[in-house]
């Protein structure tokens, strides 16, 4: 009893128990033999497929390519979003313009742009990056803009008082002051683009013999390698968790938490 209580008090252990529980249910269902291995593979064969794809280097290559795509898109998206928002802070007319285009494009799901991307950029990297950038900039603009608007008047005035003006005031006072919002925007942008990436890859496939995780899943399904499909899904989930719980958590700890700008997370 005491042990169980202890296990459930620890957030990590608690989650581990849930995951083990879910996996057991999976294995039990498989062991009934009601479903074909092609539909619902056993945990063992998924594991074998995963290890195999890792040792052969296949998984690394596809993951690296996905990261290569998303990295480029994040780079372009962040620069674009920041330029647009920063200029909005300097010119009210430009702010209206940015607000209008954000209102128009934000509700549009990235995948809905697939046909357009196909027509404009053809099949390949460019189309995927186009869609990813779309899924990155709007939430980032919205959050950064809200953050900029909520900057304390006192801090802005202190900035002006010590001699900061224009874009320098934006980068030196507004950006750090709005950082909690910017971080939220980045998280949404990341998860949006990560999801769009997998979808887009399935449709655009590989270019020049290279493909990302999404493409790999699609290919494996085509050859009815179901365990590999699940192995790839597992990797996608793992990356998502790592980025959100390690990369962003660290970033948050080093910045807004260290600066006392957000309340520390509960255990």
């Amino acid at each position: 009893m005491q042990l169980i209580k202890k296990v459930f008090e620890n957030k990590f252990l608690r989650q581990l128990v849930f995951i083990v529980g879910l996996l057991s249910v999976w294995q039990i269902v498989v062991s009934t033999g009601k479903y074909h291995e092609l539909i619902l593979p056993s945990l063992g064969s998924i594991w074998t497929a995963l290890i195999e794809s890792i040792t052969s280097g296949e998984m690394w290559d596809h993951t690296a390519y996905s990261f290569y795509l998303i990295g480029q898109a994040l780079g372009i998206g962040i620069v674009l979003a920041f330029s647009l928002t920063a200029l909005s802070m300097v010119s009210p007319l430009f702010a209206d313009f940015v607000k209008t285009i954000t209102t128009i494009f934000h509700p549009l799901p990235g995948v809905a742009l697939l046909p357009i991307a196909l027509m404009w950029f053809g099949i390949g990297e460019k189309s995927i990056i186009f869609i990813l950038v779309h899924s990155i900039i709007w939430p980032l603009i919205l959050n950064t803009y809200t953050g900029f608007r909520s900057v304390s008047r006192t801090q802005l005035e202190v900035g002006r008082n010590i001699g900061l003006k224009g874009l320098r005031l934006v980068s030196s006072v507004m950006v750090p002051s709005a950082f909690p919002y910017i971080l939220t925007g980045l998280k949404i942008s990341w998860s949006n683009s990560w999801r769009s990436l997998v979808a887009a890859e399935m449709i655009f496939g590989a270019s020049g013999g290279k493909g990302g995780l999404g493409w790999w899943i699609y290919q494996k399904r085509f050859f009815l390698k179901t365990p590999s499909v699940f192995a790839a899904l597992f990797v996608i989930i793992l990356i998502g968790i790592l980025v959100e719980n390690v990369v962003f958590a660290q970033l948050e700890k080093q910045t807004v938490q260290r600066w006392g700008m957000v309340i520390r997370r509960e255990k």
Binding site: S152, T154, Q155, E157, V158, R160, N161, I162, G163, L164, S172, V173, P176, S177, F179, T255, R258, W259, G260, M261
Partner: protein
């Protein structure tokens, strides 16, 4: 003595949906080099508006502001403001970082920045907290750090808008004494706003009393009490009552507004 700041026929109006407010009406006064002027007035009489106009944060309807011989309008590091709000330090920089950054913006090189920041941190007794982040400081310490940052910039005038207004009585009186000591040492020119009569007398060479609706200067009173000043002395109490009466008459104001009694906290 030379006038450091001259305000000439200053008018400020706020236009709002509920009608216009004449926040300041025909304000003229000057502050001498090295002088400590306190401004006393009931809430809403336009004290903050006045100091914000001088700092360049608030636009004016008509009038002129001179700093020395030059007319000023835009904000600049020659007039540094210390606010009442505790969030005036940049939370993403350490205490010393807040000071060195302000100096960096003003073109000081690295070794000089560090030395200067340390000097002023020592002056406000915060050297031990140099590497702390603002959220790790108490309210009083934050105000001290803000004062250190302002002094380090070596402004021609220090504009202080109730910097001790949110502090408890004890911390407040410690900081008052420290401010006087620093002012005597550095020789800065200061405009200090308060709605506390005792604070106005303790600090000021002169006390400018304002009245509201519209904000005007009621009287400028010389404080001829030797420093250090003690509130229990008869001359202090006499001046206290004089200022109290000057403020109190406003309670039965011309427009019948029932203003909050100042100076009782």
């Amino acid at each position: 003595m030379d006038a450091k700041v001259v305000i000439e026929n200053l008018w400020v109006k706020f236009e709002g949906e509920q009608g216009n407010v004449q926040a300041l009406e025909d304000i003229s006064f000057s502050v001498n080099e090295g002088e400590f002027l306190t401004i006393l007035g009931p809430s809403g009489c336009g004290k903050s508006t006045l100091i914000r106009v001088i700092a360049g944060f608030q636009s004016l309807e008509k009038g002129k502001i001179f700093l020395g011989k030059k007319q000023v309008a835009e904000p600049g590091p020659d007039r540094i403001m210390v606010f009442q709000e505790f969030d005036q330090l940049f939370p993403w920089r350490t205490v010393i970082g807040n000071i060195t950054y302000a100096l960096k913006v003003n073109g000081l090189d690295k070794t000089k920045r560090e030395a200067k920041a340390n000097k002023y941190l020592e002056m406000v007794n915060l050297q031990e907290f140099a590497r702390a982040f603002p959220h790790q400081l108490s309210g009083g310490m934050k105000q001290r750090a803000a004062i250190a940052r302002s002094l380090a910039l070596n402004p021609e005038i220090l504009l202080m808008d109730e910097p001790f207004g949110s502090l408890d009585a004890q911390t407040r009186s410690i900081l008052q004494a420290e401010l006087v000591r620093i002012w005597q040492k550095v020789g800065s020119t200061i405009i200090f706003i308060t709605h506390n009569i005792q604070e106005a007398i303790l600090l000021g060479d002169r006390v400018m009393v304002m009245s509201s609706h519209p904000g005007t200067i009621k009287e400028i009173v010389d404080v001829e009490i030797k420093r250090p000043r003690l509130p229990e002395t008869p001359e202090f109490m006499k001046l206290w009552h004089k200022l109290y009466t000057l403020l109190e008459t406003k309670r039965f104001g011309e427009n019948g507004r029932n203003n909050v009694l100042p100076g009782k906290d």
